[in-house]
């Protein structure tokens, strides 16, 4: 196993820091307005059809690029612009990145901003080792995990997330945040997220609330007997 220089936070501290960040998300503390929403609306993401990378969309800093690439491995999406190397473009439609995975990790209220570079470094250290053992040549202009092809990102993530693997809990949390951003818009009030057409909730077809922001399903039943009950059912509907 690769060891780390002592000056860096210990992995245990990383884990506690990462999970403790959830504590900061207390009711009322995070207003919907405070959460960045630009990436929540897929239509607003500029796409350069000519394949030229707009200057404003140059490769993000290595930490963001790495965390985005990891989130994209969990819930893959389409590239934001031609020449997007961070999102692998392995699947059509928006993925965890567009759904706000990195916004969720970077929320000031979450308070783990300072730990993210170390997390990304851990991922990249493992990516380098993976490349070395699998004979992959990595472009030096990109963080190692970003430089891996999607199939290799997937294989490596599978290794990192396997029960018993070193530091697995850290990677599980990264996976959990990526999925939570996509499946639940965990950084947004759900009703607000639906109104903003959050790409993850839209992708899974999460139903919309009523005008008061509450869900109700007046039509909810097929309305007929669809099986016979067990013959030994007791009074009140219990098993014997």
């Amino acid at each position: 196993m690769l060891s780390e220089p002592p000056a860096r936070p210990t992995r245990r501290r990383l884990l506690v820091g990462l999970t403790a960040a959830v504590a900061a998300l207390r009711a009322g503390e995070l207003t919907a307005e405070a959460a960045p929403s630009a990436r929540s609306v897929p239509e607003s993401v500029p796409v350069d059809r000519a394949g030229l990378q707009p200057a404003s969309l140059a490769l993000p800093d290595p930490t963001t690029a790495t965390l985005e690439a990891f989130a994209d491995t969990m819930v893959p999406g389409e590239k934001r612009y031609g020449g997007d190397v961070v999102i692998a473009g392995a699947a059509p439609g928006p993925g965890a990145v567009q759904a706000g995975a990195v916004e969720l990790l970077n929320l000031p209220e979450l308070g783990i901003g300072v730990l993210l570079p170390e997390l990304a470094l851990l991922v990249n250290t493992r990516a380098l080792a993976y490349a070395a053992t699998h004979g992959r040549i990595l472009l030096p202009t990109q963080p190692p995990f970003v430089a891996l092809r999607f199939t290799d990102r997937t294989a490596l993530a599978g290794e990192l997330l396997t029960p018993g693997a070193p530091d697995r809990q850290l990677y599980v949390l990264l996976a959990l945040f990526a999925a939570a951003a996509f499946d639940t818009a965990a950084h947004l009030h759900t009703a607000v997220a639906i109104r903003q057409r959050h790409p993850g909730l839209a992708w899974i077809g999460f139903p919309a609330p009523g005008a008061d922001g509450l869900w109700r399903f007046p039509d909810y039943s097929y309305g007929r007997r669809l099986a016979s009950e067990h013959p030994l059912t007791t009074r009140g509907g219990h098993p014997a």
């Binding site: 884990l15 403790a20 960040a21 959830v22 504590a23 998300l25 207390r26 009711a27 995070l30 491995t73 969990m74 819930v75 893959p76 699947a91 439609g93 997937t154 599978g158 290794e159 997330l161 029960p163 599980v172 996976a175 959990l176 999925a179 939570a180 499946d183 639940t184 818009a185 965990a186 950084h187 009030h189 759900t190 992708w203 899974i204 077809g205 999460f206 139903p207 922001g213 509450l214 869900w215 109700r216 399903f217 007046p218 039509d219 909810y220 039943s221 097929y222 309305g223 007929r224 007997r225 669809l226 099986a227 016979s228 009950e229 067990h230 007791t234 009140g236 509907g237 098993p239 014997a240």
Partner: protein, 531 residues
């Protein structure tokens, strides 16, 4: 230093196990104080929201080694966040022998013996029988699939006021419409009406002998910050003549472990024999065309199903595999259930375990989310969970609002694995027939096995070597210290456990009142079901 207070009865935890004795003791004339670790929220606070910071205030995700458990953390305990399926345990459960090879339940406890206590609880909640036209689409679909596969299927009995229920499917957040019959609507208000005092954000830490003559125990507690449960904001101690420990199956044994040196030891079964109720969840990826063609269902023109997020989370279940004549570890119930999106992570899209739960195929599967159907098997496990040494405070290390690390480790034995394999095979036999759906259990890679039904970590029984409580629910060797929560239940139940936990708590009450009277309190037993 704070002054030590005194009360007749101290109850630790306010779920089914705490609320029920609190009511009977208060109604019987005893002075009752309830310490509850979580906050006191009510219907207006229960929002429809998946944002971190909403439901995470009242639900804990407790990660052990090989298992993750979901539990409530608020006044009312898990009854506030539960899904309200209210089942009596099948008769054979009480005769279970497990791998120890002897009866695990007290010989006095049978289904027939417990039925009168089940009756009381059902009256108090009350439990409703859903008619078929009250079973939501997913339950209907599951029933139709069962029928087509030659199985039976029942509407699940639920502790829900069906007239008030909006079928919103937000039960995990607490019921905004007060339709779900949690302890907030019956036993707890009835207890406070008789003078019981509930103290939220009070976490009990140790139980020790009292120093005041006439009092038996001294419980120390920490007051927790309402905004960050990791921060203590005060300490105190209360002496009581009787202590009812009902902190839940994840917390009760840990409190006793920490208290063991103060109490001069606790039975060795404390913190052993934990059961996750054999919980096993699978996701079926349903083919809408087959729902129409094979089952003849259509919920709206052109829409056969697409009903995953609609309804009450639990609609129907099959009792076919609860056959007492079959071998132990092969019996289970299979229940249609809905879990909110935070668990979507666990669904498997392929048969390659290492990568089955993420990536391209998983995203494709997410696009069919409205056509998912999930089923929960509750099997016979082997009570193989064991707690390590207790953390410095509380029952686990809270690293965030709702994320806790526990010393619980759970390594399923061959017996438990046999039960899960049988349940998986049955789920496939019902739901994969003629290509209706593709069924896979939740991935165990992320969280180990997952249970919402922790049990048995401080169980009752006749054998002192393998049970911590006698058949009255009293901790062996510690008169006046009773345990009445899920930890007292000796084995997995093959059905959802709340009604059995509640019935056992009702059954323990006469003995707790008697013990309290013996300690000099003028208390009587006999209060009617709360109204």
């Amino acid at each position: 230093m704070s002054v030590t207070e005194r009360t007749d009865v101290l109850v630790i935890g306010s779920g089914f196990g705490g609320a029920i004795p609190a009511y009977h003791l208060a109604a019987g004339g005893a002075e009752v104080v309830i310490l509850e670790r979580g906050p006191h929220l009510t219907a207006p606070d229960f929002t429809h929201d998946l944002r971190l910071g909403s439901y995470t205030r009242i639900v804990d995700l407790v990660q052990g080694d090989g298992i993750t458990v979901v539990a409530g953390n608020c006044v009312g305990g898990s009854s506030v966040v539960y899904f309200a399926a209210s089942l009596r345990a099948p008769s054979f459960v009480f005769d279970r022998r497990g791998s120890l090879g002897h009866r695990l339940w007290p010989s006095t406890l049978t289904r027939a013996a417990l039925d009168p206590w089940y009756d009381r609880v059902e009256e108090a909640l009350p439990v409703a029988q859903q008619s078929w036209d009250q079973v939501p689409y997913p339950g209907g679909l599951f029933a139709a699939a069962c029928a087509r596969a030659g199985r039976t299927c029942n509407p699940a009995p639920v502790a829900v006021d069906l007239a008030r229920c909006t079928n919103c499917n937000w039960m995990l957040n607490g019921c905004h419409f007060d339709a779900k019959r949690s302890m907030l609507l019956n036993y707890l208000p009835a207890a406070t009406a008789h003078g019981a005092e509930i103290r939220p954000l009070h976490e009990a830490q140790t139980i020790a002998p009292a120093t005041t003559p006439g009092y038996r125990y001294r419980v120390s507690y920490t007051q927790l910050d309402a905004g960050d449960y990791r921060l203590p904001v005060g300490v105190g101690a209360i002496e009581a003549k009787t202590v009812v420990l009902a902190a839940g199956a994840l917390a009760t044994p840990v409190l006793l472990q920490r208290s063991a040196p103060l109490l001069g030891g606790v039975p060795q079964a404390v913190g052993r024999y934990f059961s996750g109720n054999g919980d096993r969840v699978s996701i079926a990826d349903v083919d809408e065309g087959k729902v129409r063609d094979l089952l003849g269902l259509e919920r709206a023109p052109g829409i056969p199903y697409q009903g995953f997020p609609i309804g009450k989370p639990i609609g129907s279940m099959s009792y076919d595999r609860l056959d007492p004549a079959t071998a132990e570890f092969t019996r289970f119930s299979l229940q249609q259930i809905y879990f909110p999106g935070i668990t979507d992570l666990l669904a498997q899209a392929t048969d390659t375990p290492a990568t089955s739960w993420f990536g391209v195929r998983k995203k494709e599967m997410r696009a069919r989310w409205p056509s998912w159907l999930s089923v929960l098997a509750m099997t016979e496990d082997d009570n193989e969970g064991v707690f390590g040494p207790p953390p410095p405070t509380g029952s686990s290390t809270r690293v965030a609002t709702s994320l806790c690390l526990s010393t619980l480790s759970y390594r399923p034995t061959a017996n438990t694995l046999r039960g899960w394999a049988a349940a998986d095979a049955e789920a496939r036999a019902v739901l994969e027939r003629d290509g209706l759906a593709r069924v896979r259990p939740w991935s165990e890679n992320a969280a180990g096995s997952v249970s919402a039904h922790p049990l048995a970590s401080c169980r009752m029984g006749d054998d002192p070597a393998t049970s911590a409580l006698d058949e009255r629910g009293e901790l062996r060797g510690h008169p006046g210290l009773f345990v009445t929560d899920g930890s007292a239940v000796p084995t997995s139940l093959c059905v959802n456990p709340s009604l059995t936990i509640a019935a056992l708590a009702e059954r323990a009450c006469p003995g707790i009142v008697e013990s309290t009277a013996e300690a000099g309190v003028r208390a009587r037993y006999g209060a009617p079901a709360p109204r």
